[in-house]
Symmetry: C2
Subunit: 85 residues, 2 copies
């Protein structure tokens, strides 16, 4: 069993309206030292599988096909082995 942690964020060229709203809210709350806020998505997938490289290839497929809008977003992921259940 493997745990994949996937982080999805907007590409730098894409406007991130939620991040901007949060930054404004933080400034109103007197957190003036917050220079930049980015909001993205975070997925945790548990996958069964034998070979970690196979699982990594599969996670990449899943990101490209379903989880990530590759036109606007970019992602990175980490895979760690879990103890057998």
């Amino acid at each position: 069993m493997y745990l994949a942690k996937i982080y999805v964020t907007y590409k730098p060229s894409i406007l991130d309206p939620k991040g901007e709203s949060i930054k404004s809210a933080l400034h109103r709350l007197a957190y003036e030292n917050v220079a930049d806020v980015t909001m993205g998505k975070y997925f945790e997938l548990k996958l069964t599988g034998v070979d970690q490289d196979d699982v990594a290839a599969q996670v990449k497929d899943i990101c490209d096909k379903l989880l990530v809008n590759v036109n606007m977003e970019t992602y990175r992921f980490e895979i760690e082995a879990l103890e057998a259940v």
Copy 2:
């Protein structure tokens, strides 16, 4: 300048409908070995500050007050120092 990476997920007792939908979709796409999917939020904050512990305390405040619904969600964060801009 510090970079805070914040990961927000539902508490285990809270139903995660988006995660369940994604799991079903992955099974339909023949990724049958996906055992579990959790969907959460991911924030990156850039903060100016001198002391890393102060910044960490501030990030915790920001999470509790604005970013996280502490009734339903749980979070963890990491802080790393960025080179001065």
